[in-house]
Symmetry: C2
Subunit: 255 residues, 2 copies
């Protein structure tokens, strides 16, 4: 399956197995959510899934069904009796949970905290994030094992996240931190951005056609109208191919 | 239900109905995914859900079941026959999809593009994001209606996102853009960060106890050891309450 293509992950700046984040689900209830969490992990290049006392036992075919192809994560999941055992090999553990009452624990947003976690992974520290079960989230005893609480700013009137969504949010932040993808680009494929010369050539052709048709016949308004028309097409960031299409349109409509 | 408490949303810097983002699902298949998308929307303070030709008709009880309380979104969803009708009142529409082939369309990451969308909403433009159905995503004809394609950097070997996760990702970016939540804080509740004076008072008490017990008896090593011990407790960013606990421990262990 494509998802196991490690070299591909590394090439694209995503997390590889040598720079990984463990996802630990404590007492997850529904297999569907374990599967959705697995899918979210693999979407973000992560495969180290650990389950503490999954309610319906393990393996769970519902997890495979809802993983939609992320079987490498589901099938590789390790099951533990206690949270302590599940995180024994990790050096840095964050807990994704609402802020626990009566506990003094540093709280970070995922936006701020996950990149810090990734920096720790960058220098070789084994990192993981704890997620609680669907009904009650993490117990205080589990949160006390963590270094930091991750809590996303959300609608204060409706904070309860689906388990898979919570995992998606953290894994998404993890992957974005390592991604070198351009924030914005214009795919050009077999064409390319038109040059200014090509653009002006089209403008002049269009304006000449508009002169011939009488559209620009009020001389004192002509400069403003020409400027406005040029701005419309300027703003469109045309490609060379699109410019040829527009030339064709002018030819077809020309009186 | 708490999720409909608008004033609460506004107070906390989240999206209100006057600064909203429409979520348009085109040919969604599973009611469960529509429900999960609704839950993600309300988690992020959004309620304007629009459905284009939902496969199993509408209303759909499975959507309500999986929305886990976000009924205000599910019950308020509007159904349209075409994408064109669904977005007729919007001024700015982004399409969440893999980059379409053979189409020249600006592509942005959600991290970069969603804040731009929110800026447009800030100045009063009605904004929306299109999401395709589970099987095939958006058709090119729908993408052509959009101003920008939103595409998240993801594991290139396993890019296919669950519909609810895709909606979560975009709504999450929307809410984070408007959030003024501190990136990091230490909840103090009924206690407060210890002062340096309180800290040094504890250090001296501990060091005196360690002198008495003989732990610091090698005089030439004493300064280094004291420094190391002070660093341990310094790093812990202790509260006044925790300091009292540590004083108690020293009293209890004192020979």
């Amino acid at each position: 399956m494509a998802g196991t293509d490690k070299s591909n992950l590394v090439e694209n700046g995503g997390a590889s197995d040598t720079l990984s984040l463990a996802v630990i689900l404590v007492e997850p209830q529904m297999g569907e959510n374990i599967g959705m969490a697995s899918r979210a992990m693999l979407n973000c290049g992560l495969t180290d899934l650990r389950l503490v006392r999954p309610r319906d036992g393990w393996p769970n075919s519902k997890a495979n069904n809802s993983a939609s192809g992320a079987d490498v994560v589901v099938d590789g999941a390790r099951v533990f009796d206690t949270t302590t055992e599940a995180i024994a090999d990790l050096s840095v553990v964050y807990a994704a949970t609402a802020r626990p009452r009566d506990m003094i624990k540093r709280v970070m947003t995922p936006r701020h905290g996950v990149p810090q976690l990734r920096k720790k992974a960058d220098v070789g520290q084994a990192c993981g994030v704890l997620f609680g079960g669907e009904r009650a989230g993490l117990e205080n005893a589990d949160v006390a094992l963590a270094d930091v609480v991750l809590q996303a700013p959300l609608n204060p009137g409706f904070r309860s996240l689906n388990l898979g969504h919570a995992v998606m949010m953290v894994c998404y932040e993890w992957y974005q931190t390592g991604s070198e993808a351009p924030a914005e680009f214009l795919p050009e494929g077999r064409t390319r951005q038109a040059t200014k010369g090509e653009l002006v050539n089209f403008f002049e052709r269009l304006e000449s056609a508009l002169d011939d048709s009488g559209f620009l016949h009020v001389l004192e308004k002509r400069p403003v109208m020409v400027r406005n028309i040029r701005n419309i097409f300027q703003r469109a960031q045309l490609t060379e191919q699109e410019l040829r299409t527009l030339h064709g349109i002018v030819s077809a409509l020309r009186p």
